[in-house]
Symmetry: C2
C-alpha cells in the first residue's frame, strides 16, 4: 500500500534529519535550530520520498540515499521560509500553522533559510560523497546549484512576484514560472540517483517523469489551495477547473509513460497517489 510506504519513508527521512540537526545544535545559535525544526515540521517530505522511490529503481540501499534526500528537503524548506516573508508572499500561515517569521521573527526566518542552503550542500559534499564517486557527487552539486539559482527556485520566485504586480502574462509564462519554482526541484529529486550513478539514459527518462509530475503536482496544489489563494496568478485561473484537472491527469499519464522501461511500480504508484491526494 503506497500510503504506508510514504509514511515509512517520511519517518526515515525525519529521523535522519533530526539526528543531523541535533549534532549541529549548540547553545549560542539555538534559535536558528528551533526555527529550522519548526519549519521542517510543515513539510510532507514529498521530494525525499520521490528520491528514495527513484533510488529503488537502481536497487540502491535507502541508507545510502538518506543524506541526499535530506539535503533536498533542506533546500525545499528554505524556499518555503523565504517565500512566506513579508517582502515576498507575505503569508502569515502555512498549512494552518504560523509561518516561520510569524512564529519567531523576520531576522530569524531569513537566517534559518540562509542556514538551510549550506546545510544541504554540506550533506551532499560530506555525507552523500561517502557513497558515490566524487565526480558524480560533484555533478549532483552542480545540478543542485543550478536548480536553486536564477534558472530555478529564485528565478521562479522573482517571476511569480512580477506576475502579482503585472497581470500581463500568458499561460506559457505561468508554466515557465511553475517549472522553475516547483518543477525543477521535483525533477531533481527524481533524477538524483541516476546522476549519482552516472546513468545518462535512465537520467533522461527520470527527468521527463519528474518534469511532467512536477507540473501535475503544482496543478493539483492550485486546485487544493484555490480558496485561500484566489489572488495568485495560477494556471487554474488561466485554464479553469476542468482543463486543469484534465491536464493533471494527462501529465500523470505522460510521467508514467516516460519511465515504462524502468519497471518502477513504486514511482508509478507514487505518481497516481499524488494525483488523488487531497491536501
Amino acid at each position: 500500500m503506497i500510503e504506508r510506504y510514504v509514511e515509512t519513508q517520511r519517518q526515515r527521512v525525519d529521523g535522519f534529519l533530526s539526528d543531523y540537526l541535533e549534532q549541529r545544535r549548540e547553545r549560542a545559535t539555538e534559535k536558528l535550530f528551533d526555527a529550522i525544526e519548526y519549519a521542517l515540521a510543515s513539510g510532507k517530505r514529498l521530494r525525499p520520498i520521490l528520491l528514495l522511490a527513484s533510488a529503488e529503481a537502481f536497487h540502491l540501499n535507502a541508507e545510502k540515499m538518506l543524506s541526499t534526500a535530506a539535503a533536498i528537503e533542506c533546500f525545499h524548506i528554505y524556499s518555503l521560509i523565504h517565500d512566506d516573508l513579508p517582502a515576498m508572499d507575505n503569508s502569515d500561515f502555512r498549512h494552518g500553522r504560523l509561518s516561520t517569521h510569524k512564529k519567531f521573527d523576520e531576522a530569524t526566518a531569513i537566517l534559518a533559510g540562509d542556514t538551510l542552503i549550506p546545510l544541504g550542500f554540506e550533506l551532499l559534499a560530506q555525507e552523500t560523497a561517502k557513497h558515490f564517486l566524487a565526480k558524480h557527487t560533484l555533478t549532483l552539486i552542480q545540478t543542485v546549484a543550478h536548480v536553486l539559482g536564477s534558472h530555478g527556485l529564485t528565478g521562479g520566485q522573482l517571476i511569480d512576484l512580477d506576475f502579482l504586480q503585472n497581470s500581463d502574462h500568458t499561460s506559457d509564462d505561468l508554466a515557465l514560472m511553475y517549472r522553475r519554482k516547483t518543477g525543477a526541484l521535483i525533477e531533481l529529486s527524481v533524477s538524483a540517483p541516476a546522476i549519482l550513478l552516472g546513468q545518462a539514459r535512465k537520467l533522461e527518462r527520470l527527468s521527463r517523469f519528474g518534469r511532467a509530475l512536477g507540473l501535475a503536482y503544482q496543478l493539483i496544489d492550485d486546485m487544493l489551495d484555490a480558496a485561500e489563494e484566489a489572488h495568485k496568478p495560477t494556471l487554474l485561473r488561466a485554464w479553469g477547473l476542468e482543463k486543469t484537472r484534465t491536464r493533471a491527469q494527462e501529465l500523470t499519464d505522460e510521467a508514467i509513460e516516460a519511465i515504462q522501461p524502468l519497471h518502477s511500480e513504486r514511482l508509478e504508484e507514487l505518481a497516481r497517489y499524488l494525483l488523488r491526494r487531497t491536501y
Copy 2:
C-alpha cells in the same frame, strides 16, 4: 608595490565575475542580475585577493584559481545584502551607496542573496572542479558549507543581532561573533589553495594566518567605522581605541609569524597593507 598588485587582482576577479554573470543573465530574471551586479560593485575583493596571494605560495596559476576566488566573493556579497535588510541591521547605505534593498526592493535583495549562494557553489562544483582532484574540491565545498552555516556566517549574524538587543556579553562573546561573522570566510579564503591541493601542513599555517588576520581586519574596520556605528556592539567599545589598535598590530604580527616557513612575501605585505588601510 602592493597597491598595484591589489588593483590588478581586483580587476581580474571582476572581469571573471562579470563574464560569468553575463552568461547567466536572461530577460525573465534581469532584475536579479542587476541587483547582484549593483551589490558586487560595493565590494573591495579583499577575500579573492587574499586567496590569489595564497595561491602564489603554491605556485598556482591565478587562472586556475579565479573561479574559487569569485565564489568566495559571491558568498561575501550575499552576506552583505542580507545583513543590510530592514529585519537585520536595517542599513540604508553601504560605503556611501544605497544598500541593495533600498536601490531595488526587499524581495529582490533577498532573492539576489539567495541566488548568490548557489552561484558560488556552482562555480566551485563546475569550474574549480576542472583544475583540482574531485575529492579535494568536495572537501573545499564541505568547508565552505560549514563556514556559511550556523558555525560561521549565519550563526555569527544571529549572535550579533542578539547582542544588539541584549548588552550582557563579554569580549570573549564578541570575539566568537567576529570569528564567525567575518573571520571564518577570511580564514577560508587564505586556506582554500591548501585545501584544493590537499596540503595539510601548509593548511594549518594558513589557517592560523587567516584567523589572526581576520580578527585584525575586523578591529581595523571597527576603528574606521566608529563614527557611523556607535550603536553596534564591538570590541572597540569593549576595549577602547588604544587597546584595539595595539591588538590589531599584534594580530598582524602573529599572522605573519604563522606563515614564516611559507616564505610568502605577498601575504606578508598584504597583512601589513590591511593594517594601514584607511577605508
